[in-house]
């Protein structure tokens, strides 16, 4: 099995799907000759041509809206938003249109679009190149939101997103792009959307998170195991909307002590809903308050290193929170 970085896995997923199905195409800013500002579409323009790897004008609502139209026709667009922060001009198209098309047409029309965007901080991206925007969309039935935690997950989940008959927002952690590398099977692996993943089994505390935080939580869990013999049950949400309630409840019940982690601001985040599910469905199985570790409630991650560091959820903060919960 070849070792791929997170971004290489993403490129590979698109490449394979474009090869498999000629209805699949890419549109976005700088995705063509430039291969994307992060180079996620590297090589695809040369391989599939300007007709299937389309450089668009600088207009996100059109990228989403034109993609939605093409999806209504029966094509399978992969729309790239250059940064997750810049998806906001397209919110109306995504929420009013993509999410509601099937429902409003009583199942007559559908919208098999995938919208990819790099999210997350820790790369000196400052306020507008570091945000986690999933919570904005994580209350819109009709949408699915997928946030992979590793190269292998990224590849399998992106392939599933592209094949999904409904709109999928696919948020990739930009710091993971080159930070994470792992063996990724060559043979076709499609990871089901809507299912969380048990990353690690343990009996002491349950940690539920998603995206790059899974990586840090995994490392921290290993440290805690090595240093303190603490056994962490670690659940990767994978799909953050709609949530895999069964897996959440199962993991929470298992240890009765739950730590929820997101890199986003705390109030109104994905883990708020995870907490509510637990509070509603397995309250009596809990032995500790449902802890949340998240970014502070300030507008976004600042540029200066001193502030960025103060904002960001990292491995140390995660380890500390885990330890506190285990000792509760």
């Amino acid at each position: 099995m070849p070792v791929l970085s997170y971004i290489e896995a993403i490129t590979a997923a698109m490449d394979e799907e474009m090869e498999r199905d000629d209805r699949v195409f890419i549109l976005g800013e700088d995705v063509g000759k430039r291969g994307g500002v992060f180079r996620a579409t590297d090589g695809l323009y040369n391989k599939y041509g300007a007709e299937r790897v389309i450089d668009t004008p600088l207009a996100e609502s059109a990228i989403a809206g034109v993609g939605i139209g093409a999806a209504m026709y029966g094509l399978i667009p992969i729309a790239e938003m250059q940064f997750a922060d810049f998806i906001l001009p397209a919110v109306n198209q995504i929420i009013s249109e993509a999410a509601k098309l099937r429902y409003r047409s009583n199942n007559d029309w559908s919208c098999p679009i995938t919208i990819r965007a790099p999210y997350g901080g820790g790369i000196h991206g400052a306020l507008y190149h570091s945000q986690s925007v999933e919570a904005i969309f994580a209350n819109q039935p009709g949408l699915k939101i997928v946030m992979p935690s590793s190269p292998r997950e990224a590849k399998g989940l992106l392939k599933a997103a592209i094949r999904d008959p409904d709109p999928v927002l696919f948020f990739e952690h930009k710091r993971a792009y080159r930070l994470l590398k792992e063996e990724v099977p060559i043979e076709e692996e499609v990871i089901e959307i809507g299912k969380a993943n048990q990353v690690r089994a343990g009996d002491d505390i349950t940690v539920i998170t998603y995206g790059l935080c899974v990586h840090f939580a995994k490392e921290a869990a290993q440290q805690l195991n090595d240093e303190h013999g603490i056994e962490v049950e670690l659940l990767d949400l994978r799909t953050v909307y709609p949530l895999d309630q069964q897996a959440i409840v199962h993991a929470a019940k298992k240890t009765g002590k739950v730590l929820l982690i997101t890199e986003d601001n705390k109030e109104g985040s994905i883990i708020s809903e995870v907490s509510a599910i637990i509070g509603e469905q397995c309250l009596f199985d809990l032995d500790a308050p449902i802890k949340r570790l998240a970014g502070p409630d300030v507008p976004a991650m600042p540029y200066a290193s001193s502030l960025e560091k103060a904002f960001i959820v990292n491995q140390d903060k995660i380890k500390q929170a885990m330890l506190e919960l285990a000792q509760f």
């Binding site: 609502s61 034109v66 139209g69 093409a70 209504m72 094509l75 009013s96 009583n106 029309w109």
Partner: protein
């Protein structure tokens, strides 16, 4: 030669056009009665725009081309194959409504069978969709074109700009028809835009722009026909503005006399395209008084039957609320 033959429309075609425009008008009038009688909660009206709508639809290759009509386009959708009964089912929000199964308000058209994109309420979102259809047609080498309409006020939305620009840059087979009826609810044209014509906006996209009299079916037909030829020839999109007047309040919830005078409306009614169209047909012996009577009677009957059917049809089963969120 008569005007319509000059532009390639048969006698039968113009009579059909008139019949459909008249049907749209009569249906709309009935909807007002039903609304005032408390039978249907809401309607948004097509009156004053039927002629341009039907003429435009006739310039398309029906069954082949894609359309994204906006909420006033009763004339467009009837011409494309939506039936009076379908629209009654929609007005009554019945399960059989082919547009949305009673989920959406009247005027929110859509039918995959008719290649008519499903529409929503936020204005102008359909423009990028139609452009996406144009892109798909081009990519797949399909000869079809994509036709989309919207009101003049709605051309101020960002999506108009972004969609039109995308279509122009990629030279897509798209026709954007702006139905300029002088008002966006209470806001008059002058409060919406400072340009002389909405079609002036075409310049900024590098596409062909044209303004025509929406009350003149032949002018509209020809403009859309020419635009469709350009589109099919790979010459890119066009912006066609059809000028008319909204003869009714904005919707059944509006009171238009809070912002315009009865006199202004009366003047506009005198220029109603449906009247001049009828006059044209009569002058050219395509419509006799007797035929007109028969036509009116047939339309009335069609509407009566549709109304009966729709009123009696079952409402959506509450259990279906959960269906169609995802596949």
């Amino acid at each position: 030669m008569t005007k319509h033959k000059e532009i390639g429309l048969s006698d039968q075609a113009v009579v059909d056009m008139y019949r459909i425009a008249l049907t749209a008008r009569r249906l709309d009038e009935r909807m007002w009665l039903l609304n005032r009688a408390g039978k249907i909660p809401f309607l948004v009206s097509c009156q004053g725009q039927e002629v341009q709508q039907v003429a435009a639809a006739f310039a398309l290759e029906r069954g082949k081309d894609y359309t994204a009509p906006y909420y006033r386009d009763v004339g467009v959708v009837l011409a494309l194959g939506m039936s009076v009964q379908d629209l009654m089912l929609q007005a009554y929000a019945k399960a059989e409504d082919p547009n949305s199964g009673g989920r959406q308000m009247p005027g929110h058209f859509g039918s995959k069978k008719l290649k008519m994109l499903s529409g929503s309420s936020p204005v102008t979102t359909q423009v990028p969709h139609a452009v996406g259809i144009g892109l798909a047609c081009k990519m797949r080498g399909e000869d079809a074109i994509s036709f989309v309409t919207l009101g003049e006020g709605s051309t101020n939305q960002g999506d108009f700009h972004e969609g039109a620009n995308f279509a122009a840059v990629h030279k897509l087979p798209v026709i954007i028809m702006v139905e300029n009826n002088q008002y966006a609810i209470s806001i008059s044209l002058k409060q919406q835009v400072a340009c002389e014509k909405i079609s002036d906006r075409a310049v900024g996209y590098g596409m062909v722009g044209e303004t025509v009299d929406g009350n003149d079916p032949f002018a509209v037909y020809q403009a859309i026909k020419t635009a469709s030829q350009r589109a099919r020839n790979g010459e890119g999109p066009s912006l066609v503005e059809a000028i008319s007047y909204r003869l009714t309040p904005h919707s059944s919830d509006d009171d238009d006399l809070t912002y315009r005078t009865a006199e202004e409306v009366r003047e506009a009614k005198a220029k109603d395209g449906l009247l001049s169209f009828k006059k044209y047909l009569k002058e050219n012996n395509l419509l006799s008084d007797k035929k007109e009577e028969e036509l009116e009677a047939a339309i009335k009957k069609e509407i009566d039957l549709a109304n009966e059917y729709a009123e009696a049809a079952p409402s959506p089963d509450p259990d279906t609320l959960y269906q169609g969120v995802y596949q």
